[in-house]
Symmetry: C2
Subunit: 266 residues, 2 copies
């Protein structure tokens, strides 16, 4: 299971300011810390970048790649910013991402073909509603796969995101189970080993702050992670500075790896 | 998922001495601590009790039940000790356990019928060899179920133990995965919701001691636990004084419970 750092997020005021003033220092520093903490890839979430999208995304990608060769995920809904990021990229990049929403099908998906990039497909309805169970996720996954095939891309470029929802939702715990079932059944549904990714922090989003709640949030996240891993999840997106979550992710390896004696490497 | 404390084990010199001298104090104290730590049941593992089996098991069961009403698991291969424990029992007791080993089929299994007790069936070959994969476990589970039916017991009295093996075995990590697959598929195999139990510490047994190894052992155990829980495990046997493992077990509840808002109870 690959660990994707979601730390370069525009919601962080440090990132927001660095991006506004085009100051590479803070972004480089966080990127280096992500790699040191065990990240296998870095998600660059700039938000929509309504002003100067090309300039800002180019700056972000170049800044990150000035200090690391890790794969990057370019995480924006703005097609102009996305294309600028893909152009600026020197290593492996993944488009994060598209859905059945018409705007994304038309403007984002073709970029994956043009730049031969892997792309994350969110299992959401065209109006952005979240599916309710494993069966609805299967239906959406097939439509997403169809979209990939229709545009003439290779199926192996697709990474499915089943969309984790907050446990605090009325059906949150049911959804947590349905997602495991979905990930477990996906290879049989598609008939090949399609890659999967999930955003772990969604599970506890909306939780009010405070020390006790933060402890609870991290505990639940690092408990759900082994469930996702054993269901077959390939990539997990989370705050890589949460040491115990990283520890939990690494401890999954000897439990799900087909390699003998991987236990000794822990 | 019910948490079964394995702390009353003859391997602990304190227990061994208390049992030898028939001193209830230390046993009562550990039992009370187990309940306070969150145990839902207490395993009484006396070993074979070759001398005075009846007297000693009666003492153990009465001593435990003098301070708790929790269900007990009577864990011995000695049929005389087992029967004495079942006679002395005042609350819910579970026989831990039997296998396809002829001695156990003849001497232990009939006690479950006589005392209307639930009984744990170990998935082991008659010569005590451990099965290699999920498929071998299915074959053994069906033979165990057959033995229950042959003796005229109700299927609901059976609790299956798939036998966790050490990760340090050559095929240890493969076995860890196969056990998850087996537990996941068992209700379909049997056609009803058969109960399951597993001994978590088997996963890391044989690990040499030392602080670093203990940290590693606990990390791997509390990482495997959510995998077992999401596969459908009903009862887990472990050292209930390992706080972080208890925490991990409790955090599984909102992730696998069908009840809405169970998250808020964490």
């Amino acid at each position: 299971m690959l660990l994707v750092a979601d730390n370069l997020h525009i919601i962080n005021p440090v990132i927001q300011k660095a991006l506004e003033t085009l100051d590479p220092g803070p972004i480089q520093e966080i990127t280096e810390r992500c790699e040191a903490a065990g990240a296998d890839a870095i998600d660059i979430n700039t938000g929509p970048l309504s002003r100067h999208p090309e300039e800002k995304m180019t700056f972000m990608v170049e800044t990150v790649q000035s200090v690391t060769n890790l794969p990057i995920l370019i995480d924006t809904a703005n097609p102009k910013a996305m294309e600028a990021g893909l152009k600026a990229n020197k290593n492996i990049s993944i488009i994060n991402g598209f859905s059945l929403e018409p705007q994304k099908l038309e403007k984002i998906l073709p970029l994956a073909k043009k730049y031969k990039s892997d792309i994350i497909g969110y299992l959401l309805y065209p109006d952005s509603r979240v599916p309710n169970d494993a069966s609805e996720r299967c239906t959406l996954a097939i439509q997403i796969l169809q979209a990939i095939q229709d545009i003439g891309m290779d199926e192996s470029q697709l990474i499915i995101d089943p969309i984790i929802v907050p446990l605090s939702w009325q059906n949150g715990n049911q959804q947590a189970k349905e997602i495991l079932t979905f990930i477990h059944n996906l290879p049989d549904l598609f008939g090949f080993q399609v890659k999967t990714i999930a955003g772990l922090s969604n599970l506890t989003s909306g939780l009010t702050s405070g020390h006790e709640n933060m402890k609870k949030k991290l505990l639940v996240e690092r408990t759900y992670l082994p469930m996702l891993a054993s269901a077959g999840l390939d990539m997990v997106l989370f705050n890589i500075f949460h040491n115990q979550t990283v520890e939990s992710a690494k401890a999954c390896v000897p439990l799900i790896s087909p390699r003998i004696f991987s236990w000794a490497e822990l």
